[in-house]
């Protein structure tokens, strides 16, 4: 061993602080945007900051945040899923049907997760082993799930749900369970993405597939697994979605996939794969909910609501691009 032949080790130059912030910048931007929004709207109408309204902002869209967690994993691994909305619709229906037809409640909660895993493992296999671009597979799945759901249920509403099935209406310490789900799952996945080998594998695959393969990562298997995990989150989201009200619509929520993808992407997950965190996507989902709510509080005509939302998405994305450029 002839270590340190030359100069004594110098301390590595510390990362400049603003660069560190820039590296996690999207989360900060989103957090700032949420706070700024709350302050501005709170001044205009203090009721916006009322406990009920804040709870609603967090709880009402928690299922989007949960679905966006899985979506973020998929996008970080370099893929995309445009069928997630249809999948959630199907899984919510399955869950509701089990609940009203006398099956045990735990089965009604668990089945959507299991089925989500199975369906998306299939999607992942097509993507990984047959090398079909994920957008193509999921575009096909979108049609299949949507059409299939209506063929089978003909869109009949599911009513008479048992009281103890409605998990999204449970509260713990006064906080609705969807908020707990959102916060705990986000935290767990964030930690898992950072501290588990598989979490890092997802970044590796999205960053450079060839390098991942040579590094001994089983890319195909990992891809299937990422889709399967995404299916599990879609299942959880579906249960939250299904149990929020006492009626299940058993159709596909319109444009849900776009909302989920937008949350991931605005949350800082690069559509090119390899970067992003689930904290960002959850913050983005909260931001959207806050925007939707604040527009009502600000008396913005509902006619203009969607333009304002579109503009805000655009501004967030442009801010993100500017930040990334600075990082370079």
């Amino acid at each position: 061993m002839s270590a340190s032949l030359s100069t004594a080790p110098r301390a590595a130059p510390a990362m400049r602080p603003w660069k560190r912030i820039a590296a996690y910048g999207q989360e900060f931007i989103l957090l700032g945007a949420i706070l700024a929004l709350c302050i501005v709207v709170g001044i205009v109408n203090p009721r916006f900051l009322g406990a009920n309204n804040l709870t609603n902002i967090f709880a009402g869209n928690a299922y989007i945040a949960v679905a966006a967690i899985g979506m973020s994993l998929v996008i970080i691994s370099g893929h995309i899923d445009v069928a997630v909305g249809s999948l959630i619709g199907v899984l919510a229906t399955v869950s509701g049907l089990l609940a009203v037809n006398g099956y045990p409640i735990w089965l009604a909660w668990l089945a959507p997760i299991v089925i989500g895993v199975i369906v998306n493992a299939g999607v992942g296999s097509l993507v990984a082993y047959l090398r079909i671009p994920s957008i193509v597979v999921t575009l096909g799945m979108l049609s299949i799930l949507k059409g299939g759901l209506i063929s089978i249920t003909s869109g009949a509403w599911i009513t008479n749900l048992p009281e103890n099935y409605l998990i999204a209406q449970f509260r713990l310490f006064g906080i609705p369970s969807p908020v707990w789900f959102m916060v705990i799952l986000t935290a767990l996945v964030a930690l898992w993405m950072r501290y588990s080998a598989f979490g890092r594998t997802i970044y590796a695959i999205g960053g450079n597939v060839e390098a991942a393969r040579v590094a001994g990562i089983r890319v195909e298997r990992s891809t299937v697994l990422v889709f399967a995990i995404h299916g599990a989150f879609a299942g959880i989201a579906a249960v939250l979605f299904a149990t929020q009200l006492q009626v299940i619509q058993s159709t596909v929520p319109p444009n849900l996939e776009l909302t989920v993808i937008t949350a991931s992407v605005v949350g800082g997950v690069s559509i090119l794969g390899g970067t992003g965190t689930v904290i960002g996507s959850t913050l983005a989902a909260i931001l959207f909910a806050a925007i939707a709510s604040s527009l009502i509080f600000l008396n913005v005509s509902a006619y203009w609501l969607r333009s304002v939302q579109g503009l805000l998405i655009l501004i967030t994305v442009l801010a993100d691009m500017a930040r990334r450029r600075r990082l370079r």
Binding site: S2, T7, P9, P13, A23, T201, N208, E210, V214, A215
Partner: protein, 502 residues
């Protein structure tokens, strides 16, 4: 000493084409065994067989005398064989430490990744490689090629590699970085690591290797102790015939000035550049990577248009704001990164050749296919591209032939000024000589040529004048007679700042 890794009569074919025919090769602890051959000779396949990427069709692999069969890169790595690939298989979005430990990171008792340990270990490995200046938290995407290389080597070492395979590790490095790398290789060798070293650079082979093995057309040609062989022997073993003069610089009458730069700058990347190139003149630019050489070329070619100064063509000031405009003015650029910048690899030779010429072979914007094919065939012939025909896809060609396609497509635009950035990087000896000959011929036809190269012998051998760049500026100028390795090298290294963005 017993070889740690030995291949015995290994053959491998792809879709019926033999890539390796009955090749035997071995490497012992504490030696550097150089593997040489022209592109397409089977070096890459051999490396991949050793690394477990390809399973051989026949023949045996022995590790420490035991017969093994690798079914995946993972197994080869478990056997202590690590590979540093030419294309640097790293994850640009992840940190240095993480890249080093991906797939075998230290764990805490909870089986979670131990980031503290990972960073400390990475620090230790990099310090071992004398890379104290490399931040373990830096994003790999923000590092220079040389530093990425160090990360790759650290990654190989992190797994206690007993055999380290290095595929053209210096191909993308400037001289100083290459020297630094060679020090690392020596140090590893002294530690008892067995090193398989692939390179086209003769001086390196003679400086480092203990033994050398030559492949040609997938077959084993021979192995020799480095002391028993000369450069000329090696070249003829590789090519199968003696090669002509190495730097065929013709004496050309230097004509009128073609392009002149006056205080040209781009932001703070290149500053205050002034020089003139005349017809028939080859001007070489030497400098380290990051010295602003390529940035200068990009500015002249309009990729990053000049932010100050002026450029004159035939004495008239011109404004270049896009590559398209540069091309139309008669400036051609054979770029540094052949695969990314020079070619559309998934397209055919014909399509690549015609891409900068589309306007000339089309009537009312409709491309004339007959003209295009004729042009492609003519260029393939004129530049000696070895290909099945114009409809072959570029990605199926060897590096040298790809480079000829790049050169051909630009020469076909009939430029006045030809900028060549690393024109022979990663090209085997035979093709290199052909490219140099072409360059000479073009100069003789009256082109003004600006050549950028990391290989000092090439710069010195081909240039009429040598400009040395450092830190974005031209710091020295030598005419052919005064440009020696010493003088140019000293100018390059002067006030060397390791301007690594960490």
């Amino acid at each position: 000493m017993q070889p740690i890794l030995a291949l015995d009569g290994v053959s491998k074919s792809f879709a019926g084409v033999h890539a390796l025919k009955n090749v035997s090769f071995d490497v012992r602890p504490g030696e550097v065994h150089a593997l040489m051959g022209e592109n397409g000779a089977g070096k890459s396949t051999l490396i991949k067989v050793m690394a477990g990427v390809h399973a051989p069709d026949s023949g045996e692999i022995h590790v420490n005398g035991d017969t093994v069969r690798f079914t995946s890169p993972r197994e080869a790595r478990a056997a202590g064989i690590a590979t540093v690939y030419q294309e640097l298989l790293l994850f640009p979005e992840l940190s240095v430490a993480e890249n080093i430990f991906l797939g075998h990171a230290p764990r805490t008792t909870m089986n979670a990744l131990d980031w503290t340990k990972m960073r400390n270990e990475a620090r230790r490995l990099l310090d071992d490689l004398d890379s104290h200046d490399l931040d373990v938290d830096a994003r790999v995407g923000s590092l220079s090629v040389a530093n990425r290389q160090r990360v790759e080597i650290a990654k190989a070492l992190s797994q206690d590699a007993r055999v380290l395979i290095m595929d053209e590790p210096t191909a993308a490095l400037a001289d100083a970085d290459a020297r630094r790398l060679m020090d690392v290789v020596r140090r590893l060798r002294d530690r008892g690591v067995a090193i398989v070293y692939v390179s086209h650079r003769m001086p390196e082979i003679f400086a480092l290797a203990t033994r050398v093995t030559v492949l040609r057309d997938g077959s084993y040609v021979g192995t020799s102790d480095i002391g028993d062989i000369t450069e000329a022997d090696l070249v003829s073993m590789m090519v199968g015939r003696p090669v002509d003069q190495l730097y065929p610089k013709a004496n050309v009458d230097i004509g009128a000035p073609v392009i002149e730069l006056r205080n040209v700058g781009f932001r703070d990347e290149v500053e205050d550049i002034s020089f003139t190139i005349r017809a028939g003149e080859i001007v070489g630019i030497a400098g380290l990577i990051g010295s602003g050489r390529t940035e200068l070329a990009l500015t002249i070619f309009g990729i990053t248009p000049a932010t100050s100064g002026e450029i004159l063509l035939d004495g008239k000031p011109i404004a270049i704001t896009s590559p398209k405009q540069a091309r139309d003015l008669g400036i051609a650029y054979v770029p540094e990164d052949r695969g990314l910048q020079g070619l559309i690899k998934s397209q055919t030779i014909r399509e690549n050749l015609s891409l900068p010429l589309l306007d000339r072979i089309s009537t009312a914007t409709i491309v004339n296919r007959a003209k295009e094919s004729a042009l492609a065939r003519e260029l393939i012939k004129r530049f000696g591209v070895r290909a099945r025909g114009p409809e072959q896809r570029v990605k199926q060609l060897s590096g040298g032939n790809q480079q000829k396609v790049v050169l051909a497509k630009w020469v076909a635009t009939e430029p006045r000024v030809l900028i060549m950035d690393e024109p022979t990087r990663g090209i085997d000896v035979g093709a290199k000589a052909e490219i140099h000959a072409l360059m000479s011929r073009l100069a003789a036809q009256g082109l003004a040529i600006l050549m950028i190269s990391s290989e000092l012998p090439e710069v010195l051998g081909m240039s009429d004048r040598v400009l040395v760049m450092n830190n974005g500026r031209i710091v020295a100028e030598f005419d052919r007679a005064h440009a020696t390795p010493d003088s140019v090298g000293t100018a390059m290294m002067k006030s060397e700042t390791l301007a690594e963005v960490a």
